[in-house]
Each structure stands twice: as C-alpha cells, then as structure tokens.
C-alpha cells in the first residue's frame, strides 16, 4: 500500500472552475451525513471563507493503468488548488489487493472517504454492509447531462442499488461490451483480400488461404476470445449461460455448437496459429503487432497496445463475422455503466467526499483521463469529437454503434433472482469457456460438454427454487427480442 499526501501547484482557469463547481455542487445539496446550515457539523469539514470546503479526505485507488499514480495525484492537486484548505490523501493498492485492503480498512474503522470499488460484485457487497453512501444529492440536470441520455436509470445503470445512486463510473459503459475483429490490412492485401470477412465462411476461407501462404511464419487466425465470436450467434452463451427468453440453460444451443465447430475445424486443419493455447492476455496483440497473426477477435484495449508496439501497422477494425444465415444476436449490454468510484457512508467529512466524487464524475476529469490514457471515459461529451478524428478510435465507435444491444439483467432488475445470478456467475465450474477450449484444442464434440454444464446450471436453479419458487419466471423475459434493445 502506498500513500501520498497532497501537494500544491499554481492556479489555472480550469481549477477555478472546478472549485466553483465543487462548491456549487455541495452548497445546494442536502449532503450525506452533513447539516444544511452548519457545515462544521460534518466531521472535520469546516466552512472556509465564502462557504468553501476545508479538511482532509482519503481516497483509496488502484494505480492502474501504468502512469495512473502520477495522473491521480496531479488531478487531486487541481482539486486542492480549487479548494484551498482541502487536502486529499491517496492510498494506492495493487488491483488484486484493493478489495481486501478496503475490507480491512473498514473493519478497523479507518475506511477511506472515497474508494475504487472495482465493479458490480464488490459494490453490491459493500452496499449490503452499509459502507457505501448514496450519491443522489449529486444528481441534477448538470450531472445527468454528463452521461449518455437515459443511462442513469436505476434498473439499468449498474450504478444503483435499491434505487439509490451509489457509484460513479470511470470508463465508457460500452467499452467492455465492444468486441472487435482486428485484421492486418497488409497481410490481407498480400493474399488478395481488400476487406475483412463478413461471414463465417469468408473467415474460414481467408484464414485458410493466409495460413497456407504464410509458410509457417504468418497465420490466418487464432481462436482467442472465442466468446466474442459466439455472441453474434447467441447473446447468452456466457456465465451463467441461461437463455433469458426461456429461462433455461442454453449453452448447448445449436448456434453455439456451430460457432465452436468453426474454430474446432480450423484447429484440426492446422489453420489456427500454433501455440495460442498457452498464450497470456497480451500475446495476441504482440503476435498481431509482429505481423505473424492476420486476424483475431479482440477487446477494445488491444488497439492502443498494437499501436504502441507497431505504430505504422495496417490495422483494420471491423465487426465480428456473422453466421452465413445471418445475425442471431448482438453483444449483450447488461448495464449502462460499470461502477468504479464510491463514497464511504462512514466518512468523517461527507461534504468534502461528495465534492471529490463530483470531481471524479466531472467532464474535465473524464477528458483528462481520456487524453492521458486513450480510454473512452464515461462522459461521452468529454472525448467524442476528439475520438472521431482518430482513425482507430473512430473504428471502435463505429463497431460499438452497430454491434451492441441492451439485454435484461436479472441482478439489476432486482426481482428476486439476484442471489442466484451472482452465485451462478461467480462459479468457475460453470464457466463455458473451458468447454470451448476443450472442444477446440482436443478436437472433441462441444455439445456434450456444454450439455453437462447446462445440467449443472439447471440443478443450481432447482436448488434456488426451493427458497424462491418464482426464480424461473424471474429469469424469463419472453417478450424480449435479442435483436432489439431490452426496455424494462
């Protein structure tokens, strides 16, 4: 754990605006745990000259990605400059230790005022324990306007618990749902192709040709991130693998079987790049950047990594190839945002903590983060124009605009299936990715492997139904068309 204390820097126009915003945000609000009339009632906070903030807060965060330590310190320095008398102390924990560290801090009565909760599961846990403060006092027209329209609905935002706003996002909501088909334009051109594959048949034909022509040093594809490839054939073929139109486990769905079969056949024919079976997360973009891999299904963040390794590479970004019979589904958006920042309900200085939360959710902060790291942040207005001017980022946005649909999320809808959903989703034994891998690597039928997991999921449903007889109906959204956005 690393701790840094506040430092001071010169004023800027931006910091003055930030300060004014923070003061305005707190002055007009019924602040959590604080009095309306006498700010000195709120712990160590005290009204400064002209009603400004003062005091000290602690922010527990994760220095991720590389360079984040310096970035956050600089940002909170700006916050301090805008609010003279305010000190922001930063505690840094490694990503994989953050939640345990927060837990220990709260147990010892030394919880931070503001913290990174790292996602939905931990937010739910912390909320259930009463450690997370509601942030509804932040919500006004100005705040809502920072985020995409309609994305702060309690049943779909991902930031609400029991109808209360309890978290603020960092990255763009669709960043994690956007899945790309990356291709090397130069390799494709050398093999006589001027466009990426649009269907599975085209993909197989192109990959086979490239591997055959590659002479053992260039390969057509590698079956990394197979679930991204499958999601165009079946939107619920991931943990816990329940078809939300029927409420039944559906990992052995014929569409999924067919999509796994595509990769299994490529593997059996020696088309896939050998060695992918033991790659770590960074290896696909390394091989791609080295010009040894022509195409692969990818997450958004790979694009920037490829550019770092090979700035001049011919990088093409496209949608996933579709089944020859046409699209069956889209990438399933299960929440509008990913919860990252939360405020402690035990903060001794809630006014100041709330102001810090407002700062972390400000357009200026989101813009600075985007400019520093190139990640799309939660406030689209902070970066959208700039992103359109960048060919790679525009490509990502184009795919996101066409390839994602909102799906029902039994956990957020809070109709009673939350416990089952969390249990099934967190059970490693029900992870269908292992079945994909086994089928492709060992050249065995996928269907019986998936059917075995379906049986386990069904058993879990039956187990939960003993205490929740309505579980099946809570998992069934018969009116939802997977080709359309779900609306509650």
């Amino acid at each position: 754990m690393t701790t840094t204390r506040g430092s001071s820097r010169g004023f800027s126009r931006r910091s003055v605006l930030l300060g004014a915003g923070a003061v305005m945000a707190t002055a007009g609000c019924n602040l959590v745990g604080g009095g309306d009339d006498d700010p000195t009632d709120a712990g160590s906070a005290s009204g400064g000259e002209g009603g400004g903030l003062s005091g000290e807060i602690t922010v527990a965060l994760v220095p991720d990605p590389p360079g984040a330590s310096e970035f956050y310190r600089a940002q909170f320095d700006l916050f301090q400059e805008a609010n003279p008398g305010v000190t922001v102390n930063i505690i840094e924990n490694p990503s994989d230790q953050q939640l345990n560290a927060l837990e220990l801090m709260f147990q010892q009565g030394e919880g931070p005022d503001v913290m990174r909760v790292q996602g939905a599961a931990a937010l739910t846990r912390f909320y259930d324990r009463g450690w997370v403060a509601p942030l509804d006092d932040l919500v006004n027209d100005d705040f809502t306007a920072r985020f995409p329209e309609g994305s702060l609905e309690p049943t779909s935002s991902g930031l609400h618990r029991e109808g209360k706003l309890v978290s603020i996002p960092l990255v763009w909501g669709d960043w994690g749902y956007t899945h790309l088909w990356l291709y090397n334009t130069d390799i494709l051109a050398e093999n006589g192709y001027d466009a990426p594959p649009e269907t599975w048949s085209e993909m197989v034909e192109m990959a086979t040709t490239i591997t055959e022509n590659g002479g053992g040093s260039v390969f057509g594809v590698a079956p990394v991130s197979v679930p991204y490839f499958i999601e165009v054939a079946q939107p619920f073929a991931q943990k816990p693998g329940i078809n939300l139109t029927t409420g039944e486990p559906d990992l052995a769905n014929p569409n999924v079987v067919a999509s796994v079969e595509v990769w299994r056949q490529l593997q059996a024919d020696g088309v896939n790049m050998p060695g992918w079976e033991s790659w770590d997360g960074g290896r696909p973009f390394t091989e791609f950047a080295a010009g040894r891999l022509a195409m692969y299904p990818s997450a958004t963040w790979h694009v920037a990594e490829i550019r770092k390794l090979a700035p001049d590479i011919g990088l093409g970004i496209a949608s996933m190839p579709l089944p020859d019979s046409g699209r069956v589904a889209y990438a399933a958006r299960s929440a509008a945002h990913q919860p990252i920042w939360s405020m402690s309900a035990e903060s001794a200085n809630p006014e100041l903590a709330l102001a810090a939360m407002d700062f972390l959710g400000s357009v200026d902060f989101y813009k600075a983060y985007y400019e520093e790291f190139g990640s799309f942040t939660a406030s689209q207005v902070a970066w959208e124009d700039q992103a359109q001017e960048n060919e790679d980022q525009a490509g990502i946005l184009a795919v996101a605009a066409t390839d994602i649909r909102t799906a029902p999320n039994p956990e957020l809808l809070a109709q009673g299936a939350e416990a089952f959903w969390a249990d099934a989703g967190g059970n490693a034994d029900l992870d269908v990715k292992n079945a994909y891998l086994e089928s492709i690597v060992s050249n065995v039928d996928y269907e019986p492997l998936a059917a075995a997991i379906d049986t386990q999921v069904e058993a879990l449903i039956v187990q939960y139904e003993a205490e929740n007889a309505d579980l099946r109906s809570q998992l069934t959204f018969a009116d939802w068309d997977p080709l359309e956005d779900y609306t509650a």
Binding site: S95, D96, L99, N100, E103, Q107, A121, R125, R129, G216, S217, F219, M273, P274, G275, W276, E277, S278, D280, E287, R292, A422, D423, G425, G426, N427, A428, D429, N434, L437, E438, V441, S442
Partner: protein, 318 residues
C-alpha cells in the same frame, strides 16, 4: 579450619552458578522469542487458520460466518478437476524422484572426482537455474519452445527430427511432460548440491582400503558409497519430494495450468479458487479445504516413505 577453608569459598559459588545458568536460560528464551513470534504469526497461525476456514463458505472478505461443515472437503474430493491437479502434482514428484534424483547422483559422482578439471565451473553452471527467477525462466522457456520462431523447433526442423513444429506448451499431451522436464532442469542444481554434500561425507580411507582389497569401481559404489550416503539420501529424497510436489511458480508463469487444465497442479488449483481475479467470487474456504487435503496427503505420502527408508537403512546397516 581446613574444612572451613574448603567449604567457605563454595557457598557463595553455588548461587552464582545457578544464577548464571538461569541467566543463560533466560537469554536463550529471549533469543528464541523473535523466532517463536514469527513462527507463530507466519507458519503456525496460517496452518491453524486454514484448517478453521476450510469449514466455512468464505470469500475472503470479512469474517467467515457461513459454516458448511465438511461440504468443502466433499466438493473437492468429488471434483474431477481436483484429482486431475492432484495427479499432475504427483507426476512432478515422480519425475523428480525417478529422473532427477538418480541423474543428479550420477552427475554428482562425476563432479566429485578430484581428477575432473573445471568441476567448480560445471557445478556453478548447473546450479545457476536454481537461483534464477522462475518468472524469467518461464518467459525464456516460452520463447524458446514457441512453435512459431522458437529456437528449439527451428533446430528440430532444421535437423529433420520433426516435419512440423512441436506445440510444446499448447498441446495438452505434451505440455505437462515439457513442464516436468523444465522443473527437473531448474531443480537439478539443488539436488546435485545435496548429493555432493553427501558424497563428501564418505571417508576416503574406506576407498583406499577397498582398493587394497581389490574392489572395483562398481563394488566401491555398491558397498561403500551407497551405504554411507544412505542416511543423507533419505533426507535428500524427502526434500526433493516436497519441493517437486509444491511446484507452483513455474506452472503459473509458463502455462497458468493450461491448456484446458492439462498442467494444472494443486497449488495452481488452490490459487485459482483463492486469488484469481477473473473469478468473480473468490472461494477462500474451499481453497483452504483443498490446501488441507493436499497437506494431509503430502504428510501421509511422506510418512509412508519414512518406514520404507528406515527399513532400507536397517538392512544396509546389517
């Protein structure tokens, strides 16, 4: 007078000796305190705590509250993936016991020969992998063994030993033997040092006497070297067995237990359930139960070796 002269000095001397002895004991305990505290905090307490946590459904966050009795143990023992990892761990040990131990003994005898020039350099070269960082070794091994552009495959293809690259780490049938070989290579140096230490306990005059009696090299090995080093061999065997059974860093660094769990060993299995960030809900309770089972099995296997080796020792002594 004489008596008084004899006894008088002894009276003040007795309490002084006792006090000195007490002080020595006190100092002894005082010096032991740091060890006891550290051992209790970092060895004893984790062992006891893991036994306790094994009976809870606990995600590692907050106090364990959901008591599940023996459910975690039952789940592990009924899990095919647990037994897969257990068997793989055992294979690492078999490799160490039946390949590494005898091979290291043979090489140690060679390097123990004073007539061999540059033997210290050979010893150093063989010991280097032991002190090298496993993560670095893993990285280098992955590069060397890569099917595309890997040096090993280039050589194999170049000399015509294979007609297509061997997928050393990606083929489920080849990955585990590959890692066993790498593990043997990495641990070979330490076993070699054990054997060298053992060999240097053999009195040279025994060999000289045997030579005078006309004993050849094979007879000297069978009747002098092996019997004399046998007590140390028991320790070497147990140490090597324990080390190889707990292989974790190499597997985690090179394959992470993959592909499709073909190289999964119990330490990586435990790690996955307890710490893998890709699993939404860590299962510390279950991981502790697996750790307890693993510990008990290790203890049993180790204890089984004890009487066998003791019997061997007795026969050797007779």
């Amino acid at each position: 007078m004489t008596t008084a002269a004899i006894t008088a000095p002894s009276k003040p001397g007795a309490p002084s000796k006792t006090r000195a002895r007490r002080q020595a004991v006190l100092w002894g305990w005082l010096f032991l305190v740091p060890l006891v505290v550290l051992f209790t905090a970092f060895s004893l307490w984790p062992i006891v705590a893991s036994w306790a946590y094994a009976f809870f459904d606990w995600d590692g966050v907050g106090p364990p509250e959901v008591f599940v009795g023996l459910d975690n143990f039952r789940e592990a023992l009924n899990s095919s993936s647990f037994w897969n990892a257990f068997w793989n761990s055992f294979l690492f040990s078999l490799g160490a016991l039946f390949i590494e131990l005898p091979a290291a003994l043979c090489l140690a005898m060679l390097l123990n020969n004073v007539l061999l020039r540059g033997r210290n350099i050979y010893r150093l070269a063989i010991f280097l992998p032991v002190v090298s960082t496993t993560a670095v070794i893993g990285l280098v091994i992955a590069v060397l063994l890569a099917p595309v552009g890997g040096v090993v495959n280039e050589v194999l293809l170049g000399i015509g030993l294979v007609d297509r690259p061997v997928n050393f780490l990606g083929d489920p049938n080849v990955a585990l033997p590959t890692l066993v070989v790498v593990d043997i290579w990495k641990g070979f140096g330490i076993t070699l040092i054990y054997w060298l230490a053992a060999l240097q306990t053999v009195p040279k005059d025994l060999y000289e006497a045997a030579k005078l009696d006309g004993a050849g090299a094979r007879q000297q090995l069978a009747n002098i070297t092996i019997p004399v080093i046998m007590p140390i061999a028991v320790v070497v065997l147990l140490l090597t067995f324990q080390r190889s059974l707990n292989t974790f860093d190499l597997v985690q660094a090179v394959t992470g237990g993959g592909p499709i769990f073909s190289t999964d060993v119990l330490p990586t299995y435990i790690y996955r359930y307890a710490f893998d960030a890709s699993i939404a809900a860590p299962r510390y309770g279950f991981a502790c139960a697996v750790g307890v089972i693993f510990g008990v099995f290790t203890l049993i296997i180790t204890l089984l070796q004890g009487p066998l080796l003791a019997g061997r020792l007795k026969r050797t002594a007779a």
